[in-house]
């Protein structure tokens, strides 16, 4: 009997049920989309944050302190220590290798200009956009164009195997009156070594120390300084999660972690654990997080995540209230029908049961359809804002269906109690 009444109610009041379901679908799709987005927004924004440049700096283990002010080293006698260029692909072989977005090696030497007065300039060697073969068939693009998207070049970027093409820093070019296509000759300081002729391929603007230097392919600088296969430092750009209590504890002293905490720290993409893994993978180096980028990123991502969560909660409450008010109307208008049911001998419990059964069906249906619509919505948002799809978390489906049913039930509880209390005669007479 109960099921027959339920079915009848759906068959007869099709329009009414469709309306209720539509509202729940709309609200549920909104909640699904926002939930999905707030789960994924951290990863998405973290990718965007990579435009701030590298967040880990790898330098050789060394005892001496560089005395560098504004890109000029005041300690020329410092014993030079290097990293082997052939060790660099190992950075891409650590536990979190998928989180390594890019890296760029640097080799800085001082060169003397010929024919322009006694003037020295820093020559920086690096990768621009170099393809590095990895074990397996994979290929990896490394270089400053990947990790420093804020570098702006007028003209063209030199090729990585170019033996003469360089970029001139904007301040240096202005000072020396250099234009694209000009050539300059340089030698090692003190006039030792042979003369190299460099062609200016582009003018580089960075807002940093590179603006008063010459930036050249690594190979060229290694040949020039006779330091084949050596680099001085490597900047690594990695996708990381914001710092929390565990990572701060690990940073303070990694011995204070017990083995469980250590495993959790090691297997989470904190900037400190990725640095630690780089130190393990590459011999004789120190990897230091660049806190300007790492800490800044953490602060901003936490903020955005909080924003999304708070907005989701607000929308959630609002749509809950919206659905409830709809359920109230759809039930209140059926007072006559209920009066008749009661006159025919239905108990209050049975009336309740009918309404709750209806609400549950509407809630489940609306919740499921809403999930599908919401998944679509979040993909649209992801594609148009971030240019990539938002990963769909399965947890959203049960949460959403349960929530939809709960809201529908909550909305129908109050009016169904009111209506069940009505006196059949009064209702049928049409006074209420």
């Amino acid at each position: 009997m109960f099921f027959r009444m339920l079915r009848q109610s759906f068959m007869r009041g099709r329009r009414r049920k469709a309306l209720a379901t539509a509202t729940i679908v709309l609200a549920a799709s909104l909640i699904t989309a926002l939930m999905n987005l707030s789960i994924d927004v951290g990863d998405k924004m973290s990718k965007e944050m990579k435009s701030y440049g590298a967040n880990i700096n790898v330098v050789p283990k060394s005892e001496s302190i560089p005395l560098e002010i504004g890109g000029v080293d005041y300690n020329p006698l410092r014993g030079q220590v290097f990293i082997d260029e052939k060790d660099l692909p190992k950075i891409k072989e650590i536990f979190w290798h998928n989180n390594i977005v890019g890296f760029a090696p640097y080799l800085k030497v001082t060169a003397e200009l010929i024919g322009r007065g006694p003037k020295a300039v820093t020559l920086v060697g690096t990768y621009f956009d170099k393809i590095i073969p990895l074990s397996g068939d994979e290929e990896f693009r490394a270089g400053v164009r990947v990790i420093n998207p804020f570098w702006q070049v007028q003209g063209i970027w030199p090729e990585d195997d170019d033996r003469a093409g360089v970029l001139a820093g904007a301040a240096f070019a202005r000072e020396m009156n250099l234009k694209i296509g000009d050539t300059i000759s340089v030698t090692m300081p003190g006039g030792k070594g042979k003369e190299h002729i460099l062609a200016i391929k582009g003018i580089l603007t960075t807002g940093g120390a590179e603006e008063s230097a010459l930036v050249a392919p690594l190979l060229l600088v290694q040949k020039f300084a006779r330091q084949e296969g050596k680099v001085q430092s490597v900047s690594v750009s990695a996708l990381t999660v914001p710092e929390d209590r565990l990572s701060r504890k690990a940073r303070h002293s990694s011995d204070s972690l017990n083995s469980l905490e250590y495993d959790r720290w090691y297997c989470t993409a904190y900037v400190s654990s990725i640095s630690h893994q780089i130190e393990e993978a590459v011999p004789n180096v120190t990897a230091r997080p660049i806190w300007q980028v790492a800490a800044g990123e953490g602060t901003v991502i936490n903020k955005i995540q909080l924003l999304m969560i708070v907005v989701t909660i607000a929308v959630f409450i609002a749509s809950g209230l919206g659905i409830s008010s709809l359920m109230v109307t759809t039930i209140m208008e059926r007072s006559r029908e209920i009066g008749l049911m009661k006159a025919l001998g239905a108990s209050e419990t049975e009336v309740h049961l009918l309404f709750l059964g209806e609400s549950t069906i509407v809630g489940v249906l609306g919740g499921l359809l809403g999930c599908a619509a919401g998944a679509l919505l979040s993909q649209i948002i992801g594609l148009s804002v971030f240019g990539s799809t938002v990963s769909f978390n399965l947890i959203v489906i049960p949460v959403n269906v349960v929530i939809s049913v709960l809201i529908a039930l909550a909305g129908s509880l109050m009016p169904s109690r009111l209506i069940a209390k009505l006196h059949p005669a009064e209702v049928l007479h049409g006074r209420r």
Binding site: A20, L30, S51, N148, T205, P289, V311, A314, S325, I381
Partner: protein, 388 residues
């Protein structure tokens, strides 16, 4: 003529009477209509308020990345040292409330107990706001007349065997300066600061014999979009002797990130607006459709179609306006709560929010009322009254 007039008056009177009765008698329905419109308007108001304020709020948050502005001496002028006064004048061009933090820097090489190091003179109060990302073990130096303390970079501290609280002798041969300083804090940034020792600017001036001079000033300035390039060129024009530039690493990325966040918020606000409007519409359709019988009765006693539609629309309009107004007030309060929860500051009210909330809410209400009423009006009264 007189009959027409009084007839018109009776009609108007009747119209108002029906309106009043329908609002009064069906109080619970009126309340539900009002309530759902209010909730819809509130959420739209709250989200659009946040959307219009998000750039300002997030650009303040993005100052976590530190300095985005550099003022120094022109390279070509030979010396790299500038008068502190001139740079301060330049910095004064920026409105005070836009400067989150700024610090001058004066560099020089000094001898410590175990070797040479780069010494930097800074303004610690400004630096602390400028570089919130500094990881400090121990404490910051808080007063700017403190000339017995220093802060040391992590790598330098390790090499010089310094701990928080230990003493270090700073010697500068050229000026004959020699003094023992207490290490107040050890700094880690992952960049050049790790190898430097920091003291107050005044003390650095005495140590290096460069009082009243600085190398450059770094500042953290709240900007929106490309303001910062304009600011740099205006400052450069007024102070041709200085080298003024935005730090591209920070300013370029900031623009990109702000754009993304703004786009995200815009899309979310738009979707919430659409979906909430539809949600309110379905509720209103439900409320109005149940009054089909009433419409049939009105028709049976001689009301014309136009009159019925007009009456229902006016009714919805009255409730709708009241709902939207209450919703806007509520939405504004909601925006403040969200703003406080996320950014710790209030969301400012903008007039652009009014049309964004009002127009879709009222349009949706009217449309939602018109659809079922028009359908009901077409039906033959007898059919409706017979309960079909």
């Amino acid at each position: 003529m007189a009959g027409d007039k009084s007839g018109a008056r009776t009609n108007t009177w009747m119209f108002l009477l029906i309106l009043w009765k329908s609002l009064k008698v069906r109080r619970s329905r009126v309340f539900i209509t009002f309530f759902s419109i209010m909730i819809g308007a509130a959420i739209i108001t709250a989200l659009s308020s946040i959307y219009f304020d998000i750039s300002t709020k997030m650009s303040r948050e993005l100052r976590a990345y530190g300095a985005n502005f550099f003022i120094g001496q022109k390279d070509s002028s030979g010396s790299r040292i500038a008068e502190a006064r001139e740079i301060e004048d330049a910095l004064a061009m920026v409105p005070q409330d836009k400067v989150i933090g700024a610090s001058p820097y004066l560099y020089g090489v000094v001898r410590l107990d175990l070797g040479n190091a780069v010494l930097a003179g800074v303004d610690f109060a400004g630096l602390r706001r400028l570089s919130p990302y500094w990881q400090v073990e121990g404490r910051w130096i808080v007063v700017d007349f403190d000339d017995a303390s220093c802060m040391v970079g992590k790598t330098l501290a390790k090499n010089m065997e310094l701990k928080v609280g230990s003493q270090v002798t700073v010697i500068r041969n050229e000026t004959g300066f020699q003094r023992k300083l207490t290490v107040k804090g050890i700094v880690e940034t992952g960049q050049a600061e790790d190898e430097q020792i920091f003291v107050n600017l005044a003390l650095a001036g005495r140590i290096l014999g460069q009082e009243g001079k600085v190398n450059h000033v770094m500042a953290s300035i709240v900007t929106e979009g490309t303001d910062i390039d304009g600011l740099a060129s205006r400052m450069q024009n007024r102070f041709p002797g200085l080298d003024v530039k935005p730090i591209r690493k920070v300013s370029y990325s900031e623009g990109r990130i702000l754009e993304k966040i703004k786009g995200l918020m815009a899309l979310i606000a738009f979707i919430v607006l659409t979906v909430t409007t539809l949600c309110v519409m379905t509720t209103l359709i439900a409320v109005v459709s149940e009054r089909t019988r009433e419409i049939g009765l009105m028709k049976a006693i001689g009301a014309d179609d136009r009159g019925i539609v007009l009456q229902f629309l006016t009714e919805i309009l009255v409730i709708g306006f009241a709902g939207v107004l209450a919703g806007m007030a509520m939405g504004f309060v909601l925006a403040q709560i969200l703003g406080k929860a996320v950014f710790g500051s209030a969301i400012s009210f903008r007039f652009a929010v009014l049309p964004v909330t009002l127009i879709p809410s009222v349009c949706a209400s009217l449309l939602a009322a018109a659809l079922p009423v028009r359908m009901a009006v077409r039906i033959v009264p007898a059919q409706v009254l017979k309960e079909e």
